[in-house]
């Protein structure tokens, strides 16, 4: 879900209010978990695929949405077959696929800025403005930086492979985490520099000022 972003279009899905789509997604996922039967899963799954067609989203985007979860789904599938049955394994996987595709449909048909604005509006109803703003900014950063963290991980993997470390998770995780943290530092400075200083960043600056004085 987090790696897919807006796919421009004019369908009713593109024009539906973002908050309504978030609530629909929440409802669909709840239904899928509460009603544990093929009678609920099958029509919802078909409906999700149908909506991809209506929104004019190509099949390649469906595959892109599922690709990051492929290994995890495969693992769950094998474990379910081993402990339960092929039928249950298929059911569990189809349920996950339906939920991932439904979530991707939300991000593919909603501009991130519209989604963030809707979330901010929603949180504003029961949270102070600066907290709602911070939460929505955090969502936005997730959408933007998950692909970047993945790119960092790929670069580190290649560098470690070149040095002969093929399966050393410590050698992969340490530089990835350090590079990500260093980026996070500069990202927070960039957010301040772009005049969108959120209150918690202001507080951090004030703290720094007090320490210096």
């Amino acid at each position: 879900m987090l790696t897919s972003t807006y796919y421009a279009g004019q369908s009713f899905l593109h024009t539906t209010r973002p908050l309504f789509k978030v609530l629909a997604l929440f409802l669909v996922c709840t239904l899928l978990f509460v009603f544990d039967t093929w009678f609920v899963l099958t029509p919802i799954c078909l409906a999700v695929f149908g909506l991809y067609g209506i929104a004019g989203i190509p099949r390649s985007e469906i595959l892109l949405a599922l690709r990051p979860a492929f290994w995890m789904l495969l693992f769950i599938f094998i474990v379910q077959i081993y402990f339960e049955s092929l039928q249950l394994a298929s059911f569990v996987i189809l349920r996950f696929v339906t939920m991932i595709l439904a979530a991707s449909l939300l991000t593919l048909t909603t501009k991130t800025s519209d989604l963030i604005a809707a979330l901010e509006q929603f949180f504003n109803r029961f949270l102070p403005e600066h907290i709602a703003e911070t939460i929505s900014l955090a969502f936005s950063l997730c959408f933007r930086f998950i692909p970047l963290v993945r790119q960092t991980f790929d670069e580190v993997t290649e560098a470690q492979k070149a040095r002969g470390h093929h399966k050393d998770w410590r050698a992969l995780a340490t530089p990835t985490i350090i590079r990500t943290l260093k980026s996070a530092d500069e990202i927070s400075q960039a957010i301040i520099a772009r005049s969108v200083e959120t209150s918690h960043l202001s507080a951090a600056n004030e703290r720094r000022d007090r320490e210096h004085s």
Partner: protein, 227 residues
């Protein structure tokens, strides 16, 4: 005009910048120096991203640091790595980010973004995903994100480091046409040679300050003697 009065920066008992005093009036000012010499810290002082431990920084007579928002409005900052500056997944959303709190309406924001992108021949990037842009495109979008805020001064930290030759020349052409005062931190001596004035920062001090020819020549001699 930028006035730096006796400014020092220390972190964890380590002096990053010693007490520096300098007045910057020229339209194009370059800053060079070895890695870790304090030049990025110096650049970040100019818009309040770094706070001076001692002394004060003034931009057009307004003190920087006491009122961060004023500084940020006057001085735009372009970071070395555009990936860390672009915070939204779609170009148009990212460019709108800084403008949202400017009091402009949605239509005015959209119109300003379109005008700037058209001005630089980048209208086709409007709806593109930011993580799919090339390095050069990202650097240009990061710069336009700053230009949209219409700052009086723009500070650029190593703007050409990640660019290929073609994108470097596009960026330099664009920078040459900007009306704003530019302060550029760089190791790119060909770019630095084009400046009106050059500061060489070494070990937290201004080692040399003058014309690009004189400073670059001394810097080259220093680098050769150190290697």
């Amino acid at each position: 005009m930028i006035k730096i009065e006796n400014v020092g920066v220390s972190k964890e008992n380590k002096t990053i910048l010693a007490a520096i005093s300098v007045t910057l009036t020229e339209p194009r000012i370059g800053i060079i120096g070895s890695n870790g010499s304090g030049k990025s810290t110096f650049a970040k002082l100019l818009n309040g991203l770094e706070r001076a431990t001692t002394g004060a920084v003034f931009v057009n007579d307004a003190p920087i640091g006491k009122n961060n928002k004023t500084a940020l409005g006057k001085v735009g900052f372009v970071f070395q790595n555009p990936d860390n500056q672009i915070v939204f997944p779609i170009v148009v959303e990212d460019l709108a980010f800084g403008l949202k709190k400017s009091g402009l309406s949605k239509q005015q924001i959209q119109s300003r973004i379109t005008t700037y992108l058209e001005q630089f021949g980048l209208r086709h990037l409007l709806e593109r995903r930011t993580h799919e842009l090339s390095g050069g495109e990202k650097q240009l979008i990061a710069l336009i994100g700053v230009l949209l805020m219409e700052p009086e001064i723009i500070v650029l930290d190593e703007p050409t480091t990640l660019l290929d030759l073609r994108n470097r020349s596009i960026l330099l052409k664009l920078l040459a046409e900007l009306p704003q005062k530019l302060i550029i931190v760089s190791h790119d001596l060909a770019l630095m040679a084009e400046m009106d004035r050059l500061l060489w920062i070494e070990n937290g001090n201004i080692h040399q300050d003058g014309s690009p020819e004189a400073v670059i020549s001394a810097y080259r001699q220093f680098a050769e003697s150190e290697s």
